[in-house]
Point group: C2
Chain length 292, copies 2
């Protein structure tokens, strides 16, 4: 998620060649899915204004899927012109958050997603769904797991091959994550479900661990824990990819990802942003490498 969710809200300006440098390093790690851009309003999200330039500069590798978000038909048209492989469709499990974040009701967000889904599929673009606020909303508090299940099923019905359940504000804890997933699995098979945890309260890795034995095999993350500012109180980056991979490898789970190369990608973007990496495993492995 790094080049998209990781960079879209930070105050710094990140030039397209730095984003491309990051994407190039990420695809060298063995990752098969990289979210590279969002075709959203440049006024609303200035960091994603260069989506076309980023897509035009990709040095595509076979076996890697280059994904982007699009909130509406205009975004879809830009994305199709850029030859994007996958498109993200999104909704939120909180009415108030949906209004604040995308200025539409949940129903309207599903209608927008439906308007994109058919032409995208006709153009051969794969669809991935996102439900945000699955474990809590900054405005409404706790989220009803049944609502998440309903929305995940709706996105699946639109043709998403996978639906990612996002704890957008990182308030979830392992028992609640498991309870949510158990409820969603009543509406959907497990295989097309993914998890997307922000690490706002430090719980992300524990939440992922708690869901692994329910059959989850797809986890969103950002290299270097991008997505929050380590200097901003209450920063809320995605869980750091390096920490996730370190855990999975420790558990004996094959990821196909080269952890050293992933740490190098994290070091690259952290240096470009002039801030320490948000990945503890990334920092520790870099220190170990320096000691030799």
């Amino acid at each position: 998620m790094g080049p998209r969710d990781g960079l879209q809200n930070i105050p710094d300006t990140v030039p397209p060649d730095v984003k491309l440098g990051l994407i190039d390093r990420l695809q060298a790690t063995g990752l098969s899915y990289i979210e590279v851009a969002a075709f959203v309003s440049p006024k609303a999200v200035p960091q994603m204004a260069d989506a076309q330039a980023v897509c035009a500069g990709l040095k595509r590798r076979p076996g890697v899927s280059y994904a982007a978000l699009a909130p509406n038909v205009q975004g879809l048209e830009r994305a199709l012109a850029c030859g994007i492989d996958e498109l993200g469709l999104f909704t939120a499990a909180s009415e108030t958050f949906s209004q604040h974040n995308t200025r539409c009701t949940i129903d309207e967000s599903l209608q927008r997603a439906a308007a994109i889904a058919a032409p995208a599929r006709a153009a051969g673009v794969r669809l991935r769904g996102y439900v945000s606020c699955v474990l809590g909303c900054p405005y409404e508090g706790a989220t009803d797991p049944a609502k998440v299940a309903e929305l995940a099923a709706a996105l699946f019905e639109l043709g998403c091959y996978e639906v990612s359940l996002g704890d957008t504000i990182g308030v979830g804890t392992p028992g609640k994550a498991r309870a949510l997933l158990s409820r969603v699995r009543q509406a959907l098979p497990t295989a097309p479900l993914a998890l997307h945890f922000h690490d706002t309260y430090g719980q992300a890795l524990a939440n992922i661990l708690a869901c692994l034995d329910l059959g989850i095999a797809s986890v969103d993350s950002s290299v270097a824990g991008l997505g929050g500012c380590p200097y901003a109180p209450g920063a809320s980056g995605n869980v750091a990819s390096e920490d996730v991979v370190y855990m999975l490898h420790g558990l004996g789970i094959e990821t196909g990802v080269d952890l050293d190369a992933l740490c190098a990608a994290g070091a690259y973007i952290s240096e470009a942003l002039g801030r320490p990496s948000g990945s503890k495993a990334g920092r520790a492995l870099a220190a170990r490498a320096r000691r030799g």
Copy 2:
């Protein structure tokens, strides 16, 4: 662990009244065990040179146990003179680490512990044991769980009411933590076992979660994740108490700890040290409180 393990290796000088301010705030949270000092060589560990001043300044609360480490009989005598409630006895599961850290073999460290144990118990002081490097050693690599089990049993035999298994360099992952604990439980009952994870690779909370359903009910932690420097690459603080308590409360586990008060203690010491808190839950809850 904050006032002791958390502060003993940081470069800053922390005056005794700041330590006492921290201890005062920690004991106001409902915590019943606080490690306040180490009676070690002031030359080797300058941060602990004020152990006597700290102990003399304690505003003791009923129900709180004030603990310290002592490596030898001289340390024990200083600790007894200070009226400490509990004493930590320690050894390491790695011969090389033992030599580097305490300049003695593992056997010698057990002999030193034995020399302290009898007079400490005779003086009515409770004993808590520590085995370090239980999931890996910076010099020797992986640790043999059988060695950890043997040492934990040895400390238990010396009269420790609890033995804490320390992943000193934070390299452990959940499966390895569970495997270790399963092995140690062959030698000891679970009740007197505690876990002590450093968060060097971001794995600590996941490791704790993985061990909860094996019956672990005692976990070491440091408020604000003290123990490493957030600016130092490869920093390796204890797992942050706030993050642990946030997870446990989310799991519906009673801790008796007031999380808001704990965050206040973390904010106090972080401000005194002039650095951001190492606890993500602490930072997020502080930001939420500021937003009102």
